[in-house]
């Protein structure tokens, strides 16, 4: 639906050139929810603004629904933009217009018939559950309500894509959930492709099918979220996961030589990762029965990625090398990923 090819954007500033986006190529497929994550300043906003040419790339191609926007005439570009809805962190509603008029605006500009506009706006007001607030002004709404209005406005032209730039970053957790659910519903019911930019891990977890991880202007890792986050290759991705889950804490404990992770010579510290088909207790009890390996769990969690639960366990295995190797092989055969983080030494 959207294909970026070797997109580069450099800002000229008084302090020299800022390379906000460097040679990025990504393909966002029709109907999916695509996440772009990265820490602040990574270039996420610039990248998404390149998708509707709010920012014109210095190099590269931006292909939307088969059309190269870089080559499009001004009027063709405006038409394309109308088919790419966009919502923002700070909502950006028209302060002097009522909720109804805010949503109706794009249609009014196209001089559509009044009853058609009315039908469409009422349908969207119903979707965002704000029918009774239609004559209020944006300043009279809460943040979450404003974002819902912004979503309705973005949908009024029946877009093919919805771009969300930190759409939930100004909202509290509960309201965020609310908005995420709405976005997901829009994606499923209206078959609208969604691009979500965020620095919050749980937004990706909740919503995305695919993800691109950005670091200083480049996409360093991309793919379906479960593989990307269960087998991260790049340090950056690992860092990101670590900030978002407790699993990362273990590395801190090790770095600090915390007594919890102090190992005897016959012990190994291992990280296990498994999907829904395994349950932790069954796994642990099987290997201790079968291989005589004693397991003590330091830490465990189950996180839901999109719809897939992913379990993580950090445990200390106690046993002979032979026993532990057997146990690990057994686990691997049962689709558990095993990573030995640290081995005990003979003092």
């Amino acid at each position: 639906m959207i294909r970026l090819e070797h997109v580069t954007k450099t800002f000229k500033t008084k302090d020299g050139d800022v390379h906000a986006v460097k040679d990025v190529s990504i393909h966002i497929k029709k109907g999916e929810i695509y996440g772009i994550i990265g820490f602040s300043g990574a270039g996420k906003s610039t990248l998404v603004r390149c998708m509707n040419l709010l920012e014109r790339p210095n190099e590269g191609k931006v292909i939307f629904d088969g059309e190269d926007l870089m080559e499009a005439s001004p009027s063709a570009l405006r038409k394309a933009r109308a088919k790419i809805g966009m919502i923002f962190q700070h909502f950006n509603l028209m302060p002097a217009m009522t909720i109804y008029d805010n949503i109706a605006l794009p249609l009014k500009l196209e001089k559509r018939p009044k009853d058609e506009i009315d039908a469409k706006v009422m349908e969207l007001l119903d979707l965002i559950d704000l029918v009774e607030r239609k004559d209020s002004y944006p300043s009279q709404l809460s943040g979450g309500q404003k974002q819902r209005v912004a979503i309705a406005r973005a949908l009024v032209n029946d877009p093919k894509v919805l771009l969300c730039d930190e759409a939930t970053s100004a909202l509290d957790p509960q309201t965020t959930q609310n908005i995420l659910r709405l976005i997901r519903r829009i994606n499923e019911e209206r078959k609208i492709t969604v691009v979500v930019i965020t620095h919050e891990m749980f937004v990706v977890k909740e919503l995305c099918d695919e993800v691109a991880v950005m670091e200083s202007g480049r996409v360093v890792e991309q793919g379906e979220i479960v593989p990307v986050f269960t087998h991260p290759v790049q340090e950056m991705t690992k860092d990101f996961i670590a900030t978002a889950s407790n699993a990362g804490k273990v590395d801190e404990l090790i770095a600090k030589h915390h007594p919890l992770v102090a190992l005897k010579h016959n012990q190994q510290l291992v990280r296990l990762q498994y999907d829904s088909s395994n349950t932790a207790e069954a796994m642990i009890s099987r290997i201790s029965r079968k291989w005589g390996v004693d397991c003590s769990i330091i830490f465990g969690s189950v996180e839901i990625w999109r719809d897939t639960p992913i379990g993580q366990l950090v445990t200390i295995f106690t046993g002979t090398d032979e026993q532990i190797v057997r146990a690990i092989e057994d686990l691997k055969e049962n689709n558990v990923q095993v990573e030995v983080i640290k081995r005990g030494h003979i003092e």
Partner: protein, 225 residues
Amino acid sequence: MDTLSNLIPNVIKFANVFPQAIVDTLIMLTVTGVVSFIIGLPVAVLVVVTKPGGIKPNRWIFWICDKIINLFRAIPFVILIPLMYGLTRAIFHTSIGIKSAFVPLIVGTIPFMARQLESAMEEIPEGIVEASTSMGMTCWQIITNVYLKQNIPGMIRGITIVLIAVIGQIAIVGTVGAGGLGDLAIRFGWQRQMSDITFVVLILLLIIISVIQFFGDWLVRKTTH
């Protein structure tokens, strides 16, 4: 009545000149306000749209408008009066009366008006303009739907400030024979030392200013959502 004629004897004596002076002042205020708004608004839009980072950046147009505005704002008003003398003669064929005041008043007020309207438009968050662009609005649609409509209270606040400043300038043109309340203060209060007339002129000017301010504040409240 007796006490009044003791307190402000000259005002009572020359009461017949006041209505005309008030009317003249109000006419000069209205004409200056309306004309400078009609000319100042497009200038302000041009500056906002063409400035670097605007929706149609154009270095030349921006530079020229910006410099002209600054130049005229830098000229002290009393100097603008003789400076515009030729133009006044050419347009109105007179150099006395309220007609003689229009040219310097308007020329002096346009840049001020343009700057006030410009800064009201600049107050509109960048993100709103960006959202409009992302909707596929044309440049013209952004001007008419966003810049001209989304900060009306700010514009009214600016216009109020301009009108109050214009009252001051009308008093100045009065001193060179354009009529109005300033003229009274000079001819009677200053030249004939009738300080009670100066005092009453002051009160009248304060009343006019207060009415403008009150009306402006009311409109701001009315248009703020």
